[in-house]
Amino acid sequence: MSDTVEAPTRVGAPNIRRTSGVDTAAGDARKRRTSWTPAWVAYLQAAPMALVFFLFFVLPLIATLVVSFWNYTEYSIEPAFVLSNYHDVFYGCVAKFPGLCTTFATYLSTLKFVAIVWATTLLIGFTVAYFLAFHIRTLPMQIALFMVCTIPFWTSNVIRMISWIPLLGRNGLVNDLLLSLGIVDTPVEWLLYSDFAVALALVHLYTLFMVVPIFNSMMRIDRSLIEAAYDAGASGWQTLTNVIIPLVKPGILIGSIFVVTIVTGDYLTIGIMGGQQIASVGKTIQTQINFLQFPIAAANAIVLLAVVLVTIWGMLRLVDIRKEL
């Protein structure tokens, strides 16, 4: 990152980069021309991206919605408009109430992981970002340490998962250590292929999604605000809770949206680290696809999509992101 680019960050000039891409891009264009090309050029330039998203995101979601109303038998799938797939998804949910039907139990299990992973990644992510933003004094050092945190993000998730096996397994390093220290007599079994392993791997994989947006928000804080807080007699803790945390709320929100949606839709980590024994919605969908039961898989996918969208909507209600950015 060049000095010219980062300069405003260091000074913390609040107005320069408080942006949410679109609004500012449009706002600036009105004030200051950067382009003298005819208007249709913009459509041409946006067309490839629009086409990709239309073909490989919008249409697929429509296809999923449509197929979720189709009929299927053991041998075939036929276009129809039936609600039986949704009925199957929620089978027993009313009859068993207040007991849990399969779907509710699965979502509850996922919710547990969401809560644990969200809280842990937020705590770790905030602390790491705080350290990088406020305790490292030079920009090159900040960038270097930030890269250290970022590099694992560019490597394979599966490898980062299986790399826990030699540590947590029955004969793994952790158990060896515990045995040799005499803390336990027999190897601890719940380290691998368990809820613990799933939560650990998810935190390991996704803490970066918290670090990046929170760090970004922190770098935009005008440093004179913090000095002002100290001058006004605030303690370090008071500055943190009254100045810094309110100002990094958008970063926390963006990180939270990432972590919550990823964990909600996850099937791979829960599959591998849970030894294929722990249920998740994604895994249910995948199993149904493997049995070629596309309509019910589609219905499950639509329900999952709805859950994710409602969650994001709720989180956006908590913090008005447009006001904060």
Partner: protein, 299 residues
């Protein structure tokens, strides 16, 4: 957490040391596990999946790459590599074009932005299933017609590496590319383009000789995202690759079956490619930045 050091102050507050220790632990947490499998992939021929090391050798790598092992990865490896490069190139080009479009006003820009963000956030298994369904429906609708005029074979499906697979990967890489372009263009000083315009540059000249050199280092960043996201992609690939398998899919399948260090050797190989790409990219980024600074600084 406490006092942020005021610049004048030379002494570090105590919280600095506590947070440094925390950060160090975090780095160990991030890298520690990967280091263990990198180490274990050099197990001797009689070594197992866990420590202790039973000698040090390249046995498992040789077994892996000669195809004698439990896995044949040559094809999947080159398949993933080619797909990654294609995704990388397309991501850079499409993101830059869209980035340029977003600097102007056009109808539907807000919708396109939200769709891009949605593509990032919607669970990948849903997108993957959707693309698979879409292609099946398209096959059902059009294949009889197209085969009747002899364009495609009657049976078979259109799901494949460079049809649905490529699209699935782009739906994942393009939002990252677009967000980086936003960050880049938001910081770009518009005076340069105005100056170019005043000096009589055409639109194309202004882009080619003014804008492009300034954004070039960040395009390397987009390329890095494009390649590595595709190289490691698995959730969106799971239903969209048709009969072919990419390397991460093979690797995920192996986690349940393989009980020898083969899988660590494969993991090390995959990580080696990732690291080569990451460090080459970062080096290129730094060199470009240095060159730019040297040129821009007057004596």
């Amino acid at each position: 957490m406490a006092a942020k050091p005021v610049p004048r102050e030379e002494k570090r507050p105590r919280s600095f040391y506590a947070l440094s220790a925390f950060f160090a632990l975090f780095v160990v947490f991030l890298y520690g596990p990967v280091v263990t499998i990198l180490t274990l992939s050099f197990q001797g021929p009689n070594g197992g999946l866990t420590f202790p090391m039973n000698g040090v050798s390249l046995y498992w790598f040789e077994r892996l790459w000669s195809g004698r092992g439990t896995v044949d990865i040559g094809t999947a490896f080159s398949r993933s590599l080619i797909l990654g490069l294609v995704v990388m190139a397309l991501t850079v080009v499409i993101s830059v074009l869209a980035g340029l479009a977003f600097r102007k006003r056009f109808a539907g820009s807000t919708a396109l932005f939200y769709v891009a963000i949605a593509s990032l956030i919607v669970p990948s298994i849903v997108v993957s299933l959707g693309i698979a369904l879409e292609f099946r429906i398209i096959d059902d609708l059009f294949r009889p017609l197209l085969s009747s005029i002899g364009l495609v074979s009657r049976r078979g499906n259109s799901l494949g590496l460079f049809t649905s697979g490529l699209g699935a990967h782009l739906s994942w890489t393009l939002p990252f590319g677009l967000l980086i372009m936003f960050a880049v263009f938001n910081r770009l000083d518009k005076s340069f383009e105005e100056a170019a315009r005043d000096l009589g540059a055409s639109n194309w000249q202004s882009f080619r000789f003014v804008v492009l050199p300034m954004i070039a280092p960040y395009l390397i960043g987009i390329a890095l995202f494009g390649f590595t996201l595709s190289w490691d992609e698995i959730a969106r690939s799971s239903q969209t690759m048709g009969s072919t398998n990419t390397l991460p899919l093979e690797l995920a399948a192996l986690t349940t079956t393989v009980t020898t260090p083969d899988i660590y050797a494969l993991g090390t190989s995959v990580t080696a490619v990732s690291f080569t790409v990451i460090f080459t990219t970062l080096a290129a980024f730094i060199i470009l930045q240095k060159r730019r600074q040297r040129r821009s600084l007057p004596d």
